[in-house]
Amino acid sequence: MESILTFDSLLFTVVVKVLVIVAFFLVAALVVGYLEHKVMGHMQDRTGPMEAGLGPVKHGVGQLVADGAKFIQKEDIIPRSADRWVFAIAPGVALVPTLMILVVIPFGPGVWAENLDLGLFFALAASGVTVIGVLMAGWASANKFSLMGAIRDAAQLIAYELPLVLAGAAVALQAGTLSLVEIVERQNELVLFDTIPVWYGVPQVIGFGLFFVAAMAELNRPPFDMPIADSEIIAGHMTEYTGLRYAFFMLSEYAGMVVLSALAVVLFLGGWYPWPGADLPDGAWGAVIGTVTTIAKTVILAMVMTWARATFPRLREDQLQRMAWTILIPLALAQIVVIAIVIVVLP
């Protein structure tokens, strides 16, 4: 199937795709950021933002827009001893991978920007690029806290990228393809014991858990926010940043939540199908229903991330590493072996 964003003129197609992706990226980050404010507020027995609104709708729906306006007005400070050039582009580098993953994520039948044959590979590879931006920021800031944060982030990425990739690989193994679109289609065809249609999240429940935990760690979301632990190293690699550049880091965190949640939905929760074995109508209706379904599932997953954030205290650096290397990675390896055996043994 072709992407619905494909037009006759190649240039036009590219422009439309880029615009749609950037728009989705910004809106999704704002929406999820706002929801996180509210959900976390209520989990902490308060109401979250209540005042800023868009028009007559209050309850703080305009809070993040207001925050953005504030960030724009802030002075853009670059420390004197900082490596100016690297310092300046680091937030952009941290932001790009999130945008790139969005390119391959299918939101509905036909609702994607690119259907790469190597979609999963592309997404997982791109997600690892963020750390380069973080390292650049940490190093260029000429601040020991920034540097420590960046190093911690790199260490964390190495530790958690493994279970992430292994969990993804198990899915690819079971689906027999790396294309995210096809993973969704195959997933919908999976029928357990010839009777119960399920998504990959059921046979690969361990993999799903691993993927989700590793995704949280990769995004530096609490309880895995050691690289930006405010009580120890102020804000890690973001310590020296102000204004819009700081906002970029925040934006990439929230957009990252959306993107990795969407990836988890595509890999384990049936993508755009509302229930296992569902059948979507062809054409526009199918695209709309599919997109709404994917986004709803994604938001729910993102809120689960927020739920974990509001519940669990931050792991210590050594606990963080030990958890990855002694629990998650062995589990992921064991799981991939089991899946491989089952795939081979079962027809």
């Binding site: 209520h42 989990m43 027995d45 109401t47 739920w307 974990a308 519940t311 669990f312 958890m323």
Partner: protein, 317 residues
Amino acid sequence: MPTAPKIGLLKGLGLTLKTALTPATTQQYPHVKPDLPPRTRGVIALMEENCTVCFQCARECPDWCIYIDSHKLTVPPKEPGGRSRTRNQLDRFAIDFALCMYCGICVEVCPFDALFWSPEFEYSEHRIADLTHEMDQLREWMDTVPPPPPLEVGAAMPKEVQDGQRAAAKAVEEAAEAARAAAEAAAQAEAAAQPAAEPAPDFDQETYDRLLAEGKSERVAKAKAKKAAAKQRSAAGGQPGGSASPQADDGGSGSPQAGAQAAAAAEPAAEPAPEFDQETYDRLLAEGKSERVAAAKAKAAAAKRRRQASEGSEGDQ
């Protein structure tokens, strides 16, 4: 080896979920006024009339944020030939609420009940200098001071009230004493003048004294005394001219004049030097003044009336 994750992780998730599903306790402050306890320390009010410029508060304030200016005033002697006295006149009393840390020491330490806590808290300003509240402002806060909390059941009355009650009781006793003496004299005189029978007394002094001694209020005592007298009257067989009423000689309540006199003497004691003008008090309360203000004004009104009364009676004599 780390210990395996336990059920506590799930319990934690359950707790946050439960909290999320119950309504938040947030009070939407500017839209909804907070529900403050009545003795909240919001702002300090000054009852200017009570302040004797003793400087205790200014000296004890840990922040030195109370500013007092005063000058000596010479008060002319009350009686001619007496010594003129000096007293302090308050010129300025200001509290800098930008400095104040709301410790309440000044309120505690004031020996003359001039400083009070008010729960009012919305007095932020754009300029820090405006947070220094001068005397008039502090006086206005006085209107927002809540009435003192009621005493606990069985608690001793405040010292002032005890003093007042004691003085009142004493006044009553003296009045009764005087009435008895007068009654005796009158009875004797009348007995001498007309030994004939008297109209039955309508006030039984004996009962009255007994009840008073028992600590009953004057009103009750008087009422009972009247009733007792009425009873005696009816017991005497309703003969208005009946001879030699037995009460006539036993020390007291024989003559109606004496009874009346006793009542008259007891009357001012009954409302013993009204320290407090109920009417003024009620009116001020109705006007929305605080109870303290009302009480103070009521006292002042009562004092004025008393003064006038005593001047009047002096003129009579």
